[in-house]
Symmetry: C2
Subunit: 593 residues, 2 copies
Amino acid sequence: MPTYTPPTKDLQFVLHDVLKVTEADTPGYADLEPEFTGAILEEAGKLTSEVLAPLNVTGDKEGCRLENGVVYTPAGFKEAFEKVKEGGWPGLDMPEQYGGQNMPAVIGSAVGEMFSASNMAFTMYQGLTHGAASAILAHGTDAQKDKYLPKMVSCEWTGTMNLTEPHCGTDLGLMRTKAVPQDDGSYKITGQKIFISSGEHDMADNIIHLVLAKIEGGPEGIKGVSLFIVPKFNVEEDGAIGSRNSVAVGSIEDKMGIHGNSTCVMNYDEATGYLLGEEHKGMRAMFTMMNEARLGVGMQGLAQAEVAYQNALTYAHDRLQGRAVTGAEAPDKPADPLIVHPDIRRSLMDQKSFAEGARAFILWGATMIDAAHRSGDKDADGLVSLLTPVIKGFLTDVGYDMTVKAQQIYGGHGYIEEWGMSQFTRDARIAMIYEGANGIQALDLVGRKLAQDGGKHVMAFFDLVKSFAKENAGQDEAFDKEFIEPLKAASKDLQAAGMYFMQNGMKNPNNALAGSTDFMHLFGHVCLGLMWAKMGLAAREALANDPSDATFYETKLATGRYYMARQLPATALHLTRIQSGADTVMALDAANF
Amino acid sequence: MPTYTPPTKDLQFVLHDVLKVTEADTPGYADLEPEFTGAILEEAGKLTSEVLAPLNVTGDKEGCRLENGVVYTPAGFKEAFEKVKEGGWPGLDMPEQYGGQNMPAVIGSAVGEMFSASNMAFTMYQGLTHGAASAILAHGTDAQKDKYLPKMVSCEWTGTMNLTEPHCGTDLGLMRTKAVPQDDGSYKITGQKIFISSGEHDMADNIIHLVLAKIEGGPEGIKGVSLFIVPKFNVEEDGAIGSRNSVAVGSIEDKMGIHGNSTCVMNYDEATGYLLGEEHKGMRAMFTMMNEARLGVGMQGLAQAEVAYQNALTYAHDRLQGRAVTGAEAPDKPADPLIVHPDIRRSLMDQKSFAEGARAFILWGATMIDAAHRSGDKDADGLVSLLTPVIKGFLTDVGYDMTVKAQQIYGGHGYIEEWGMSQFTRDARIAMIYEGANGIQALDLVGRKLAQDGGKHVMAFFDLVKSFAKENAGQDEAFDKEFIEPLKAASKDLQAAGMYFMQNGMKNPNNALAGSTDFMHLFGHVCLGLMWAKMGLAAREALANDPSDATFYETKLATGRYYMARQLPATALHLTRIQSGADTVMALDAANF
């Protein structure tokens, strides 16, 4: 059975050594002293490793069960959810006004990684609730906020997002779910939604569905879509639970993974719904959830890679096989452990350097969200908007690959469900698909985000890398060669790719879009390269200031060197592909495939 | 439900336009006229697409069931297996003396791809039997051959390979299964074997297990391993089925995929076994099976990629989503089909260009096997020995990635088991692991095969690429630029990598082994690049000779151009990684990970 060790020390390293959160002038950041964040991370680590992680394999095996309209979650989930609620974890970064603790997003993200890593399917119940609550917070009336948020912030009630229909997912303009206005200001919602995570279950007293539908007589296509609050049980004026609404689970899907989460077909049959935000502006409201969800999904890529890596590492230490090519390292044993072999090392270093780089990337992104939300920093808002598809698409594509590498370390045992390594890949697989498949992330990045606000944010990103390189070059020859120079080369590749799009995308937009996925990966590598340069720098500083924990910081430097030497050079390949343009990609008539 | 369309035209193209099999002087090849091979492929295509493919999803869902020591295969498997036997397919390339049809391996491979693609779990029952029969054919006494082969060639009896034990797989020197010599010349075999594909089932009258074990008192480690024939039912002198041998299935594994194949824990409790080949030379005998199996596993990588691609293509034509960025292509429909989008095209072209390149690679490899076996061509034998780990490791790594890409085209539906796309990835995943995990293939390539016979075979490969490029350059500027030049560049990268190993592997073997997986992939790309150059050339010739089927050949050229422009440049990244050496890979103490 796999285990999970909360990476609290690594999280603290990023928060304090790298991001230096207490020095930022974002409101609330001054309070984030290492002792304080350490205590939170320890507590969250305990809960996730001791309560949630042991339910991961059993939740996968048992799955959810639909009987007479009731969905039963796997054994132990309900009790664990009670513990999560008791600890106040769902409201960690929600406003105090609604019962939350008003922590910054950077703390929510650090804690969130541990939740996702320990039990992804379980954590989705509260994750979706968080997203739905955020949408109500951003677009609801005061009355709606007062009615729903206190119960959602505590997870007494959970939330869902209802977008997809059988014939449309990405292209929501095709949706058929209808909303008919009623005299009392409410709407009757009718239609079928599919792939609804946490759509129905037995762990909450009520479920607040956020449902996209078209108001009758509204504009065609995506411009006629509105967002509605559709509670499973109607809520009385005094907040008490009232009559059952006419929304029901039709079936639960048989999926490749995340078996512990109930993915439902939801049927709305003149269900009572309440407009959230403005008529026909549903997509805007939904994007509040979606952007938050995309960052959360990127984190799932990291989280599954991290927990899979931890278990692969344990196995590589324990399993005896062959001898080191340079001479026996455990001569007293019948064979050396797997970890002596260079190809096993390569795989472990790929995983380790990715997970640590991705962690820094996500927490750095969270500091920008905090700066945007708490300080109204428009530049930070623009930058995180640019990086959202990179965080979602790159971290889930690569995170998935890393779970496959971790599984590979186990050989045949990795293929047997009992060992749990297959589950990490099966669970991680969905993260590449939901909240906008990764091809859509790449399209969003290249087709929208690059040019947003006149290309201001991507220029800001280039400047940021440039200044970083400039400020930190020339102090140490080795650091220049190992960190600064590779980062500059990778960033140059990214700029060349951007330039190619500018010069060739105008005359034929296919020239940009044929390179979109490569560009997203190129961008992701540059971000992780930047993170590793920042981490390397922080490690050097820490070593200079206090050599008592030298091994930890030297390990950071060594891991960074690996990323720079072995992973970052992928930027050149992505650039080559991008610069080959659309000709070979679009050459065939569709009929000739 | 996914479907399978046998790629008979593509197979014929490789056999006749590219490999020109009838012109080769390998015995039996002169008979392989297009009409003849076409008839075989049509028949095999019919059986695989109409009988085996429909059982793929149901076999996955139902799985195998163990009850009171009996393993029941999924519904329909038994009837389908009867049809396969009736058609004589298991003996297609086996000697006539034992009931086979004596076809060359190249035909066996072409047919084998269709079997694997239509139903991988099912096809393993006959695949393992073929491997076991080949080992008996190569190493058995005449009496053993007469006793077992006729029934195995027809698949009335099936076969297995028993290598792995709970504590050892790759490192078989650690094995504990014992063989005790008996007075009658037989042995008593005692031990436990795991991961035994087709270990027990209800589709054959007898199962012939080939079991590795250590004869008591023999040398330590791998040099004390011998191979034994252990039939499920003892076979009488007259060939009749006798008493039950004391070998029994202990359990069947709960696996990520290939649910339709019974992967068994097998317990041998003083079971009667018969030495196959020489005492303590078991590994050599087992490698006859293993090398054949490795080529078959490489084919599984191609086969799953092919069938997944076919279904992704269908979905890309059918699913409506968004509009082409260059203007609506289906203005009469509410949206354009997925296939108009450049990023979808990119993914489909990745899949298509891989599958077609891999097919040529495997069939080319099979012609070398035929040359080695039928003409005693030692150079061909050496070359295919060199390429075996590339075929196994590269084609299964990339083949798996391609099934993931195919699944991605389906968006959320790809994650739902009902659509069958998840199964292709889950089934393909095992091919990276069994018959030597891909890291072991890379080790075999770099640590053994490169230097085999003084490096003669890798030099022959370089010469082959060089002569091909020289002979075919200068006729057509576009062809030079699109095919010949990229091939030469990639081959140069491969030579540079080999040179790096020579110069740096001597002083520290880790410098070679840290680059082994990258080298295997680099090599694989050069092979596929060579295949595409050969296919491109064949397509040009065909277009010049007979323009009646121009679309087919122009599509080949366009697909080749894609591979050359978008996939082959990966060689440079692999070379960069290889040349970064072992320093960053091996920097950490094992304790500091």
